[in-house]
Symmetry: C3
Subunit: 417 residues, 3 copies
C-alpha cells in the first residue's frame, strides 16, 4: 500500500482530468477495475457534469522578477482546483482577493476547489501571505477547462448471491495523503483480499471523484436495488481511533455490524448520520436511502491537518492503515456471517459436554469466550435473532460468535433459519 | 405587563367572587375576552360549584384592644380563602387551631384555602404566631358565602383552520406576583401578539379559576375534539430557568416542540407528566387525555417563596417575564411550522450552489447554520418526518429549520407532504 | 430457618443419592412436598439421567502412614462429586493430576463435580497442595456409581386461579451454606407463608438438583403452559445487596415487578439475562422461553467465597436471609396485585376531598405517598396500564400503589379492567 501511495502522491488530481485518469491507471495496475464515465455537459440527477480541467503550470512572482514566490511545481495545492487560466499583473490588493490561507494554522497551505463557479485563486500559508509586500505581482495559471469526461473505476467481485455490498472511496483529492490516498490504498487491498476468499455476497468497489462522481454513478447504476450493505471509506491512516458514521436510517444491518465490531476496538466511536461529509450524502439521499455508512479514523474538519498541506507523510502511519484494513476485513466477515439461526434442540440446554464442546469438570467459573458463545448462540437462536443481536446481547466479538456458529452447525445443533 | 400586574396585585381574588370578577374586567380592558360561567350548585363533572365568597374585613386583636395584630387590610393573604364569617372571643389555644404559619420560613405569611370544607382561619408569619402571648383574642372575619357564579375569561383567535391550540392560566390567586399575575400578564401579551400575526391554527385563551374553573370549562366545552396542542402557563417571572412538564402521554407534538425549543435555552429542563400541579391535571385526566403540557419557570413547591407573602415584587423580574413571552412566541412559531415536508428532488443532493443557496468555493468546512439546515431539511424530508424530527436530528433551532423550509419551498425544492 | 440449615449442612449432597434423599426428607418435615423422580438412564430432553453416587469414605495418606492428610470425614468438599472408586498408591506427580485447588485463594477448598465424565479427584487448599512432599501416596475413595433415581421435591399451593407462579431452588450442593442452604431455607419459609394467606395465583415450589433436575422436571411437567411468573432463588444469605436477573425476553411481568420492588431496596441491582448461571438456563431455553427470572444476593463467581469451603456459617447472615424472605413476600404481593384497572370517573379529577380521601385545606404542598398514589392510580388507570406501570411512572412502592388501589376500589372509583 505504501508504494501505491507514494506513486499517487505527486499527481495533481481533481474531479476530472489527466491526473484523475492516471490515478485510475495506477489502481488498474493493482486490481482489475473497469473504467466507466460520463461526458461533460451530461445531466446527472440534479447536476451537470462540468468541463475537464488541465493545469500545466502556475506561479506568482513580483512583477519584473523571475523568482516564483508561489509555485505550482512545488505543490499542486497552491492552485485552487478548476481555476480558469490567468496571465496578468495585479497589485497587492487585487492579488489578495485571489489568495486563500488559514489564519489559525499559519504554516499550512489549504486545499480549495471551485468546480462550478469560474474563478482563479492561489492557496498559500498565512505566514507567506502576510509577508507579501505591496507592489505589483505577475500571476500565471496555465490551465484549460474544456469538454471532456468524468471517469471512475469499478470492480464487481461476484459471490454466491447477487445481493451486493458496496464499498467506495474518493479519488479526486490532490497531494493529501490521509484524505484520500489512504482510502484508495485500503480499498485496493480489500479488493485483492475479497478476490482471494469465498464470499456469499457480491462486492462492488467504486473509486469515485467526490460528489459528482457518486451522483454520476447513481444516475446510471442498474444494481442499486441489489445493495444490502455499503461503506464509504476514507481517511484511514491518521493517528485517530475509528469513527463509524451510521447510515441515514441509523439501524441498518451495516450500522449494527459496524457497531458490534467497533465495540471491541479501543478508541472507536459510532456517530449518527448527518447530511454533511463525503459520498454517503448521495447514497443516503432520501430517494435512494441506501444502507451505506462511513468508516474513517479522524473526522473531516475535526483534525487541524484536514484539507491542508499538513496532511502529508508525517501525518500518515502505515500501521494505522494496516489496522484499518484488518477492521474492514472483520466488518466484511461479520456481514457474511450475519444470518438468523435456529437451535435444533431448543428445549432445555443441549448437553455440550458429551459432544466434546464443553469442559467436563463442573463447579468452576470459566468464561472462556467460545464456550460462552455456544451458550449465547444456542439460547438466542429461535429463528428471529441474527449474529449481530447475539453479539450485542453477549458482548462477545462477532468473530467469536461466528466461529461458535460454524462449529454448532457442524454438530447439527444449529441451522440457518 | 408591569402596569397590569400592579393593578391586579391588591385585589383579593379567589375561585369566585368580586375580586375575580374585577380581575376579569381588567383583563378585558386589554384583550377582548368573553365572560363565561356557571352558577353555584351546578354539577360539573365530579364536582359541584361552591358558593361565592366575599370578604370585607378581617382581623385579630387582643380582647379589649383596638390594635389589629393581624389585619386583612394589610394583606389579603392573612385570611384563609373562603373562610366562613366569625366574630368571637377565643383564648390563645383555640386561636392557635385557626392559625397557619410556616416553621421553616418564619418570616413569610402562607397562602391557604378551604373551598370545600367550611371553616375559618388566619395565615400569619411563624414569628408573629410565636410572639402571641396567652390571653383572649377578638377574631373577626366579615365574609359572606352565598350562591353566585363561577366565571372565567375566554378568547378564541381564529386562524386558517379550526384545529385549536389551547393556552390557559389561572386567575384565582390573591396577592402573589409570580403565581400567578405573571401568567395572566404573559397570556394577555401572547393574545395581543397572536391577534396581530397570520396563523394557521386557531388559538383559544382561557383565564380560569384553578381546578374548579378548568373542570367547569371542560364540562361545557364543545371544542375539545379540536384541540391539537395545549399549554398551561404560570409562574413565569421568577429567577429560575424554564420547566416544561410533558403531557400525560409524554410524546405529543407539543411535548416534542417544547423540548426542541427549550433545548437551546440554557438552564431549561423538561420533566415527565405527574398528576400533581396546576390545571394540566384536568386536561390530562384519562377521559380527556388532551395534548396539554405546562410551562413554568420554577416549579410549585420547589422554591421557598411558593404560596407565601414572599412571592412579591422583589421575587419577580420583568426581564424574566419578557423572555418567557419570547419563548411562548417561539413555541407558537414552531407549532405553526411543524409540518411534514417532501424533497421534490430526492435522488442525490440538490445542487444548492447553482441556486445561490450554497457557497461556491469548496474544500473548507463551514457549518453555517442555515446551509446545514438546507442539507438537513432536504435529506430528512421524505414525507414522514416533521420539523420537530429535523430539529431533533440536526440539533438546530426550530426557528432556523423553519427559515430553511420557507426558502426551500420558495425555490420549489420542497413541498408540504 | 437457621436450625434447618444447621441440620442440612453436614449432609453430602449431590445431584442424586442418599444425601439428596435425606435432604428432601428434612424439607418434607417442614412443608408437605411430594417426591418425584426419574430413573438413571432415562432420556430427559437432550440429557440422560446418570447413575446414583454414594460415597462412604475417602482420604489421602502418605504410603505406609495411617495419618489422613486429606479426609472426607472432615469435609465432604474434599472429594470431587461423583468420583469413581479408587484404592491405589500413586506418586506425587500422578496425585497432582487428581488435585483441585485455588491458587488465588490458597486457604480455601474448592467445590468440584464430574457428573458426566468418570474420573476421581480430591479438592484441597492450595497451601496444602503446595506443602505435599514428593513420595508415594495412598489414595482411597470408597464410592459406588450405580443405577438409581434422580429425585426432587414439589409443592403445589393452589390459589383462586390455576395460573401458576413457579419458585425453584437447587438442592444438589454439599456443605456450602449460602449456595444453597440459604435458598432451600428461604423457599421453605416462603412456602409456609404462601399456605397461610389468600392467593389469586397458584404457586408451585420446586426443590431440584441443579441442571439435570430442572431438565428432568421440564421433561415431564404438564403444567408448563400455566406458568405466568417464575423465580429461581439461591444465595440469599451473603452480605451483598440483591441481584435480580431478568428472564430471557427481559420485560416479562416478573421482570417488571422485580425491578419496581427492588428499586426501593438500597444496594439492589437488576441485570440482563445471560445463558449462564443456575436453573434459569433451562426454564429460559428458547423452546420453553418461560417468564422465569432469578433472585440472588451476590452473583456466582463474583464473590471469592463462591463454591469454596469459605461459603460457611461465617459468610452467611440470618438477618440477610430474613430480609430476602421479606423481599420475596413483597414480590409475591406485587405479582398478586399487578392487574389493569379502570378509573370509573375518568373525566377531570375525582373530588377526593368529599370522599374523605384527601386533605381539606389547600395551598400547601403535601406529597404524602398515599394521596399521591390516589392521584397516580386514577390518572393512569385507563384500562391499559397495570400496577407495575403506575409504580414505574410514579416512583412509588408497589405496596403503596396496591394499598391505594384497594381503597379506590372500595370507594367505587376504580374497577378491574
Amino acid at each position: 500500500m505504501i508504494s501505491l501511495i507514494e506513486d499517487l502522491y505527486p499527481i495533481c488530481r481533481s474531479i476530472m482530468g489527466p491526473g484523475t485518469r492516471s490515478t485510475l491507471d495506477r489502481i488498474a495496475s493493482e486490481i482489475p477495475i473497469t473504467r466507466e464515465g460520463v461526458a461533460s455537459g451530461t445531466q446527472v440527477l440534479d447536476w451537470i457534469v462540468p468541463d475537464e480541467w488541465e493545469v500545466r503550470d502556475a506561479y506568482i512572482a513580483r512583477e519584473g522578477s523571475d523568482e516564483r514566490l508561489v509555485d505550482f511545481r512545488a505543490s499542486n495545492l497552491h492552485v485552487v482546483s478548476h481555476s480558469v487560466a490567468v496571465d496578468a499583473v495585479v497589485d497587492r490588493d487585487e492579488l489578495d482577493e485571489h489568495l486563500h490561507s488559514l489564519p489559525d494554522r499559519p504554516d499550512a497551505v489549504p486545499y480549495r476547489t471551485s468546480y462550478y463557479s469560474p474563478t482563479w485563486g492561489f492557496c498559500v500559508s498565512h505566514d507567506q501571505r502576510a509577508a507579501l509586500p505591496a507592489g505589483d505581482y505577475h500571476v500565471v495559471i496555465d490551465s484549460t477547462l474544456a469538454p471532456g469526461r468524468l471517469e471512475w473505476g469499478e470492480l464487481l467481485i461476484p459471490g454466491e448471491i447477487d445481493r451486493e455490498m458496496l464499498i467506495t472511496t474518493h479519488i479526486c483529492h490532490p497531494s493529501l495523503v490521509n484524505d484520500n490516498l489512504s482510502g484508495i490504498a485500503a480499498l485496493v487491498e480489500v479488493g485483492r483480499w475479497l478476490a482471494s476468499v469465498n464470499r456469499r455476497y457480491s462486492y462492488r468497489l467504486l473509486f469515485l471523484p467526490g460528489t459528482i462522481g457518486s451522483i454520476s454513478w447513481l444516475a446510471q447504476a442498474t444494481s442499486i436495488q441489489r445493495i444490502d450493505h455499503g461503506l464509504v471509506i476514507t481517511g484511514l491512516g491518521d493517528p485517530s481511533g475509528f469513527t463509524y458514521k451510521r447510515s441515514r436510517r441509523g439501524h441498518r444491518d451495516i450500522d449494527r455490524i459496524a457497531a458490534e465490531v467497533l465495540r471491541h476496538v479501543e478508541g472507536s466511536r459510532v456517530v449518527d448520520f448527518s447530511p454533511y461529509g463525503y459520498d454517503e450524502r448521495q447514497f443516503c439521499s432520501p430517494g435512494f436511502d441506501l444502507p451505506v455508512g462511513r468508516l474513517t479514523r479522524g473526522v473531516h474538519g475535526e483534525y487541524p491537518e484536514y484539507h491542508t498541506s499538513a496532511d502529508d507523510f508525517d501525518f500518515f502511519s502505515g500501521h494505522q492503515l494496516d489496522t484499518a484494513v484488518d477492521l474492514l476485513v472483520d466488518v466484511v466477515d461479520a456481514v457474511e456471517a450475519n444470518r438468523t439461526y435456529r437451535n435444533t434442540s431448543p428445549y432445555g440446554e443441549v448437553q455440550l459436554g458429551r459432544r466434546g464442546l464443553y469442559r467436563s469438570t463442573g463447579g468452576a467459573i470459566d468464561s472462556q469466550a467460545v464456550e460462552m458463545a455456544y451458550l449465547w448462540v444456542l439460547n438466542a437462536s429461535d429463528g428471529t435473532t441474527d449474529l449481530c443481536d447475539i453479539a450485542h446481547q453477549s458482548g462477545l466479538r462477532p468473530a467469536v460468535i461466528s466461529e461458535a456458529v460454524r462449529r454448532l452447525v457442524e454438530a447439527d445443533l444449529l441451522e440457518i433459519a
